[in-house]
């Protein structure tokens, strides 16, 4: 964890959280594509298929699809399998609502393209109060 990249971002839903990054330049519906009990992505053919969202900082383009997304996020939160934070390129009203209700921080409008500078497994600190995302990577970082 020798290198730290600080990226300015806009805090959407306030709060601070940290965790390993899970990154895909893709969209995701929580109902229908995420199992709230296992925390796994169940969408067939999705780049994150089979990956667990538990405790991760989820770096995706946006949520999409079902209006039951906040409900599934709520169930995941109760089961302890929800993501720790959201880093989204675009803000879907359903992800925003789910994050507000479940007090999960979310940031958007990053000054760098997150899919170029963040890799799955990097350690991320999301500070939606200050509007900063810190990326800590081991050797072989992307910048």
């Amino acid at each position: 964890m020798s290198e730290v990249l600080e990226i300015r971002a806009r805090g959407v839903v306030k709060g601070r959280a940290a965790g390993p990054a899970l990154v895909a330049d893709a969209t995701l519906s929580f109902w229908g594509e995420v199992d709230p009990v296992t925390g796994q992505v169940i969408a067939v053919g999705h780049p994150l298929e089979g990956r667990s969202l538990k405790g991760v900082v989820l770096v995706i383009r946006s949520t999409k699809g079902s209006s039951a997304t906040p409900m599934v996020l709520n169930l995941a939160q109760l089961e302890g399998t929800a993501p720790a934070a959201f880093v989204n390129v675009e803000v879907d009203s359903l992800a925003a609502l789910g994050c507000i209700v479940n007090r999960i921080p979310m940031v958007t409008d990053l000054e760098r393209d997150p899919f170029e500078v963040i890799r799955s497994g990097d350690h991320l600190e999301v500070d939606a109060e200050a509007g900063v995302l810190r990326v800590m990577t081991a050797e072989g970082g992307l910048w």
Binding site: S29, T38, D92
Partner: protein
């Protein structure tokens, strides 16, 4: 965000902590989404389901907490003058001899249903409120859950609703207001993606393919379809459902059909982009092929009615099934709203479908129930997309007549 004195008082607890929380959800959500104020809402469609197998294996505490939240919401009254209907469940209230529909969960749902009715919610249990008596007027401000119905309300009826989740729709129902952002505003309804349609669209499922293709490209944007033939109601329903499956679309414009899009220029508010995506006969073929993932021809399930079938579709299913018999070991389900089934019962479609070995399922759908199945044939792109992960089944999406042929044969016979 500017709040009235009355809204501020509710936020500060004048009507108790639960309604204060509801107001906080709406205010924070509005702030995040760029709203400047809360405006009156006269029409909601809410989610009040016990999780059932959607949360297979969840702890009793999780389920109790979740259902407790629903019961709390239902201990208040819906706002005066607001029509509040209810979305599908994760089970059916009917006695059903499948393990997914457990009596304990049905009892739990009935408790919520009773409280919901007292609160003023109308327990329609459908993803198609507009087929069950909730048909908003053009320009009417709504707060709807069900992603497919949101697109239909905005694009076909000209009503206005953002993509709501359970908490915001419940809060809107109880408080009678919604934050004003996105497609509630004229400028938020401007097209963002031009789609030229040259494909021959011969069935509602073909329209689903168009939606599945365009939703992925549009993301959270607003696709504008140009050059398409005029859709039927059922065509439009498939289009809207698929747009909100591959994408997070709130509305689309079908030029010449969407009330506020008589022309391409109107759909883009004068700012017509030169570039466009094109949907050709070849794109249509590829869109079907990309979703199908079957590795064999034997089938065990045929699922019709995603979104919930219209009466016209049920009539067509009955006509195709009359005098025929679904193959042994094949489950043929038609999903619909209870009110539509009441008509089907009375007219005789139900009897024909049941005599053929099929069944009409109300309140839910097999994907919502996570019904066990291995290979599904369906006429809905939305059902096909989600069944792959939710049910873990292989899927074949096809137009209705091919689905019924497969049901009778017990195996996939191809499109023609």
């Amino acid at each position: 965000m500017q709040l009235t004195a009355e809204q501020r008082a509710v936020l500060e607890g004048a009507r108790g902590p639960y309604l204060a929380q509801c107001m906080r959800w709406l205010v924070e959500w509005g702030q995040v989404m760029g709203a400047r104020r809360l405006i009156p809402v006269t029409n909601t469609h809410v989610l009040l389901p016990a999780p059932n197998l959607m949360a297979r294996g969840a702890s009793e505490r999780t389920i109790e907490t979740y259902v407790g939240g629903l019961k709390q919401a239902c201990s208040y009254r819906t706002a005066p003058g607001c029509l509040c209907t209810v979305h599908t469940l994760f089970l059916t209230m009917d006695e059903l001899d499948v393990p997914e529909n457990t009596p304990g969960e049905v009892r739990r749902q009935r408790e919520v249903a009773e409280l919901a009715a007292k609160a003023g919610f109308i327990n329609t249990y459908t993803c198609t409120p507009y087929l069950a008596g909730n048909v908003p007027l053009q320009g009417e401000i709504c707060a709807w859950t069900e992603s497919s119905a949101v697109v239909y309300a905005n694009s076909i009826l000209g009503a206005r609703t953002t993509r709501h989740g359970n908490e915001s729709a419940i809060a809107a129902s109880l408080l009678g207001v919604v934050p004003e952002f996105g497609v509630l505003l004229d400028e938020g309804r401007k097209g963002t993606l031009r789609v030229e349609v040259s494909a021959h669209l011969d069935s509602p499922t073909d329209w689903g393919a168009l939606g599945y293709f365009a939703g992925k490209l549009a993301g959270l944007g607003i696709p504008v379809f140009h050059g398409a033939p005029r859709p039927t109601q059922d065509d439009a329903r498939q289009l809207c459902a698929a747009l909100a499956t591959s994408g997070g679309v709130s509305m689309c414009h079908i030029v010449g059909v969407t009330p506020e899009a008589p022309t391409l220029e109107a759909a883009f508010r004068g700012d017509v982009p030169a570039e466009s995506a094109t949907f050709t006969d070849e794109t249509l073929r590829q869109t079907y092929a990309a979703l199908r993932n079957h590795t064999g021809e034997e089938i065990d399930s045929v699922i019709l009615g995603c979104p919930h079938a219209s009466l016209g579709e049920i009539a067509a299913y009955a006509a195709l099934l009359e005098g025929r018999r679904v193959a042994p070991g094949v489950r043929l389900w038609v999903n619909t709203a209870r009110g539509i089934k009441a008509y089907a019962d009375q007219i005789g479609y139900t009897r024909i479908i049941e005599e053929a070995g099929g069944r009409i399922l109300c309140d839910t759908c097999p994907t919502n129930m996570r019904m066990a199945a291995r290979r599904i044939v369906t006429n809905g792109f939305k059902q096909a997309h989600y069944a792959r992960g939710m049910v873990g089944a292989e899927v074949i999406v096809a137009e209705t007549a091919a689905c019924v042929r497969a049901a009778v044969a017990g195996r996939w016979l191809g499109d023609e």
